[in-house]
Amino acid sequence: MTIETDTINEVAPIEIAQPREAPRSAADREVVFEARDLTISYGNAPAVADVNLSLYRNLVAAIIGPSGCGKSTFLRSLNRMNDLIPGARVDGEVFYHGQNIYGDGVDPVEVRRRIGMVFQKPNPFPKSIYDNIAWGLRVLGMKDQLDDRVERALTQAALWDEVKDRLKKGAFGLSGGQQQRLCIARAIAVEPDVVLLDEPASALDPIATSKIEDLIHELKNDYTFVIVTHNMQQAARVADMTAFFTLERTESGGHGVLVEYDETPKIFTQPADKRTEGYVTGRFG
């Protein structure tokens, strides 16, 4: 069955993001990340195994799948946040614009400077709203026009109007949704190339969630986003490309695998794999 773009909302059970421009095939796009046979283990137990996947410039990629399928582990491997977990091991390669980020001589601090991250729970610093943004800028030496940079980041994160009169007040006084937008502003203020979002709206109410999603839409022309989400509707609304991970049971327990990765409409309407279909239609199992 073919779905006409203007009736998609009535036909499809899930609302799917409408590209503003004619969809270009991912193949013409610049590849930002390419994971090759990527396996991440904690101790000796693999958490996610043999992932092969390319992420493209200025396309939002969503990673969906059941709990424990290694979505977050995979995401955290893209900016070497897993390095912080004792016992975490990475096999395989992750190419970032052609360089293996696990290669010799690669400094994880440099990696994270280019690939920012927003976490599940808002984690503003116990500083003023202004300093939450300015701290990263100062640390990275982006001290020229500090005020302008802070204002720009807060404006981009659609938070400026709400906080411009209380920049010197503590960030803990903001609501959860505002705190999360502050964290997004903090991440984009340092002008990263990629922003990784680890279930950024899972702790937020629906209104705050939709603000975050709008933000991703607004900003996707400037950044490449990778978003992990539990919420399939969210993936369908914000992502151009969707990867479905699942848990593969083995004798020694189980580990996450990438089942299918394609353009979002395809994943939600004509998935190639039965497991994907089962998950997106709610007949998971």
Binding site: N79, M81, L84, P86, V109, E110, R112, R113, R114, G116, M117, F119, K121, N123, P124, F125, P126, K127, W135, G136, V139, L140, F172, C183, R186, A187, V190, P192
Partner: protein
């Protein structure tokens, strides 16, 4: 049908009566023990205050000991000495203590961190006279006593207190804050300096204040390292200076009954200092916790 009154009785049976008594007795003993602790503190403070009150005056704080038989006299030399000795000890112990805590909480592999914590606890348990003799052998023999040598001995006493207290508040800093800072491309050290330390500042101050309170009353480490009788008022740490605990001792040994009152008064000053600093520390910690929990 008749209700089985005995089976469903809600009154005490002989057996449950006994249990209730035992319960009451245990509760009473525990309460009495707790009250005894409060009573001891109250008795000490009140008796010291009563005996020393008559000696408290302006001159007590500003003069040094008078020549025997002339009356008057004060403890200014001991007050200044204690301020110099404890102040210098704090300046030595705080930076090192915080660095040790940072190593344990932020950089050390888990096993080494456990070992370091154990070493700090053992150091904390060392008798203070041993530390006094150690510093005597290390610094005093051959070159004589000086206030800074006493400070060094006190710093050894303070070090594990500050390091352990700091390490505990560093462990309270949520790891999500560290991740947030590292994800911006900050190095470990910048993360520690810019986010972790400021977040735990309240707790670090608390630990330091408690260590200062403890050091101010320490006697044994100063026995061999600085003077037990100097009478000059000077801020020079190269001189052997008198301290409050040794002045209390010296005054209490004096044949003049007025000096005995001065010993009590000086004891009262010391207790007040310790009480006030301990309470301040509590207050700071409570405020810090509240701030962290948002």
């Amino acid at each position: 049908m008749a209700v089985d009154a005995a089976r469903y009785s809600l009154k005490l049976s002989p057996r449950t009566k006994r249990r209730k008594l035992v319960n009451l007795l245990a509760q009473a003993l525990a309460t009495i023990a707790a009250l005894a602790a409060v009573a001891v503190l109250a008795l000490v403070v009140v008796s010291v205050a009563q005996r020393g009150a008559s000696a408290l005056s302006w001159g007590f704080f500003t003069k040094t000991a008078a020549t025997f038989g002339q009356g008057g006299g004060g403890v200014a030399n001991a007050l200044v000495g204690s301020i110099v000795i404890v102040g210098l000890a704090t300046a030595m112990a705080v930076p090192v203590g915080i660095l040790i805590a940072l190593y344990v909480a932020e950089f050390a592999p888990p096993r080494v961190a456990d070992l370091t914590r154990l070493v700090l606890d053992v150091l904390n348990g060392l008798p203070s006279i041993i530390i006094g003799i150690f510093v005597y052998g290390l610094l005093v023999i051959g070159s004589g006593q000086a206030a800074w040598k006493g400070s060094f001995a006190l710093a050894i006493i303070m070090l594990p207190l500050i390091a352990r207290a700091t390490q505990e508040v560093l462990a309270l800093v949520p790891s999500s804050l560290r991740e947030g800072a590292l994800a911006l491309g900050a190095s470990r050290w910048r993360t520690v300096l810019g986010v972790v330390l400021p977040t735990s500042l309240g707790g670090i101050v608390t630990g330091t204040v408690l260590a200062v309170a403890r050091a101010a009353g320490e006697t044994a480490p100063l026995l061999f390292t600085t003077s037990i009788a100097a009478n000059a008022v000077t801020w020079d740490p190269r001189q052997p200076l008198l301290s409050i605990p040794f002045d209390i001792f010296a005054l209490s040994e004096s044949p003049d009954p007025a000096d005995h009152a001065r010993a009590w008064a000086l004891g009262f000053v010391l207790i007040t200092f310790v009480l006030v600093t301990s309470l301040t520390a509590r207050l700071l910690l409570a405020r810090h916790r509240k701030k962290l929990e948002g």
